[in-house]
Symmetry: D2
Subunit: 262 residues, 4 copies
């Protein structure tokens, strides 16, 4: 096997008597000494976070854990119901839904931000970039990802909270700034309120933390993994699976003589 065919990872290594994670001894340096949010930053960004960055990560990890009986959770509960002996499969069913419509949608907003303002770019005019973004989406007649909200026309309280924490922790940077300028430019252009939504806020904060855009949905996926596990825990303690099944069946109806339809 030639050298080129080897693959390497700089993340971790299991030796005989110790495990190294990004150069740290797992048992000696990390377990019992750092929080999971510090571990998250260490793994995803590559160095230990500041206290502020840690608080920001905790906010991002907690904000999407639990929103009630949403699609991903119903998928997990149904999977648990028919395969209770393999709860990892039920949790996987939950996170498989982290796509473009829900749960994973911050990816699209982060991509827009990082393509408009590539990491490392210097001396930029954020208002010009914002105007250009708004113009391009208008030409393509596409929704700008990360702004606007069906129910929170006056601003999503979760966005305000994340941006507030971002300012308090010095994480707020040019991606948060750019997204807010985009929102203002779009609102001016269209003559209606188009506030940054929670998806956009997560995307902007993740970008300011230094994450490449596909990783901006890490927080949703990790958080909802916990959420799904908790819903399975609720099923274990207080089985409602039979009810779920009945509830869903009563809502789903077969339409007779559908043979012609495809």
């Amino acid at each position: 096997m030639s050298k080129q065919e080897k693959i390497v990872t700089g993340l971790g290594k299991a030796e005989l008597h110790r495990i190294l994670v990004r150069g740290y001894d797992l048992t000696e340096d990390l377990v019992g000494k750092i929080t999971f949010s510090q571990m998250t930053f260490l793994m995803l960004v590559g160095r230990m976070p500041t206290a502020g960055q840690t608080r920001m990560i905790d906010a991002l990890l907690t904000i999407l854990v639990e929103h009630g009986m949403v699609s991903s959770i119903v998928a997990a509960r149904l999977t648990y119901h028919t395969a209770p002996e393999a709860i990892q499969a039920a949790v996987a069913a939950a996170i498989l839904g982290a796509g473009s419509v829900h749960l994973g949608s911050s990816e699209w907003s982060a991509r827009m931000l990082q393509e408009a303002l590539p990491p490392g770019t210097d001396g930029v005019d954020l208002d010009a970039i914002a105007a250009d973004v708004v113009k391009r989406y208008e030409e393509r007649q596409q929704r700008i990802p990360g702004i606007g909200h069906r129910t929170h026309a006056d601003g999503d309280p979760r966005t305000d909270r994340l941006f507030q924490i971002a300012r308090e922790t010095d994480v707020y940077g040019r991606y948060c700034d750019l997204l807010q300028r985009i929102a203002r430019a779009a609102a001016a252009r269209r003559g209606r309120r188009l506030p940054v939504n929670v998806t956009g806020a997560i995307a902007a904060v993740a970008s300011d933390l230094g994450l490449p855009w596909p990783l901006s949905k890490a927080f949703a996926i990790i958080g909802r993994t916990l959420g799904a596990m908790a819903h399975i825990g609720e099923e274990i303690r207080n089985p409602m699976a039979a009810n779920i099944d009945a509830a869903i069946k009563s809502a789903l109806v077969y339409e007779a003589n559908e043979k012609e339809k495809t």
Copy 2:
């Protein structure tokens, strides 16, 4: 629809202007104020943890994040390689391996502990229970889950660390105690060292935290979700997918004329 066909959850609820999680207002009370490990305890156990319980949860969540290029991570990287546009699927591929052999094996140890000593049981003789467990597994000629280790015959440093933290945080309780008694009884019976391994330690600590046995693998699944995400991040920044493929292909060989074999 009759009342019985409705299903309910006590975990969370999305209202028009706020989200409730176990009765707390998500934006007001939780985000920016608690850590992800506190959220984990709140979701899985149902109340806010003490400072000690929080530190214990952080230890459990961090200990299985990263062990190098293990099976679950290779599965995630391969899946990312062929479907890079849907990283949630690659992460799901990683956690699907959290079964009885690796990553999910604490479940079997926790089950043994909680079936031997059901939650809520009082006035018990732990040594008698331990002896009985050892005897039953001997009769069935089965390995006792959670004790013994191929490479760490003198004790797994990760076990020692978790039990040390459990004592420091007052989490150490009768399940940790029972498992150590089982390990000693088995060693005496078989005449060789059979220390508690890290799987067993996680199972015992999770049981002392009040989790039903299937949830003892929550920490492995959440932790490895982060680990898989970080490996995908490494692929994004420094693509090795082609090398992975070549490396694996060079290790896998088709044996000609296998038609007869099944």
Copy 3:
């Protein structure tokens, strides 16, 4: 790398200008010449099937494709709803539910049959084995997997159909025979009808086809993969996702003041 570290497969091999599958040239010998059910037998059993075995495989593959809006399908539709750009993830969500309760339950029945009558055993008294199986399950107070049915106390028409085809195709062998003897012995013992159900019939037929017990659920998984794909196709042509969501939400209710409950 030592020889022992190499792994081999006898199933297939991609060469520069041709692909071999179990020794056959894929393009020359198989594509356009055999059916998918013949391919299924070739892959799972290792040789080409007889005409009868082919018909039996087709029956097993078609019988579980579509049963309406069952759990696995709702999980697929919900996953499609939030991640429409990755339909493989929605299909995966469907088959993740193929566990012990639904869709994968033939595994438990096939295991019982093959453990009671190991493949290759000769000169056996099937009635004695059946009596022994019934006695053991009675002692452990467990349900015998593959017999009994909530709604079809007089016999499941799908079972009758599968056994009829098994007889017509000469697939019916000692595993089908054994399961029917078990059903009769259990009924005699308990004084009520306990007919073989469709899960049991699939398990017995798969065992008579020579499949190891864990593969008995291959037919359910392949069939439901098609079923899930068809439901996603229906969503694509006639989107009902929003309705699904509303229908499910209207059936799922949060119970206030649940903070105390865990």
Copy 4:
């Protein structure tokens, strides 16, 4: 619940004593009477196929079942290795890789074809459409999906086979025609051979069969589901899991002092 909140499916319905699939009685009309490939057409297209369409479907379903130790199969084997008690999870891990790079790539080619020539369009000039497609991809400097091949510059034998069967079965229609014109136009423009590859052939044939473009990867997903199941069967009969692990580990190397890199 209002009428709008109900959802309906025209695919199937479980009644007390029978199951309806697209209006047919599953046990009476389908099981034992039709092949799985007929069922596939019935489910995905909505009516019974002709004999020719059935043969075409069998060709599409068999062509991607088995290509040796490819990424999706290694992911399945690794998952089986750590969670052998839940083989549905291992199969799911295999199909999760059916994305844009491998296994699911026909989707992109089918999308191009159906967007260039929407189903139902009449009186079109295929050469003009082909020229336009080639020009657009050239302007965007993108590869045209479904044509060109690293190793088969003179034409992929699998493509020739699929198009031959498509002609023999009268499935060959304007999508197959259009893709071949695109390939010729692109070759003329770039001055090198750019034959239709197997991904493109599947996309064109699926489009001529009447499938919406996202369903063109149904055949890959169903076929590889069988492939993964067969590889798991090989592991069950002849466990190589430990070898896989060793083989892969020997190919994957941790690079020390990687702490600085991210």
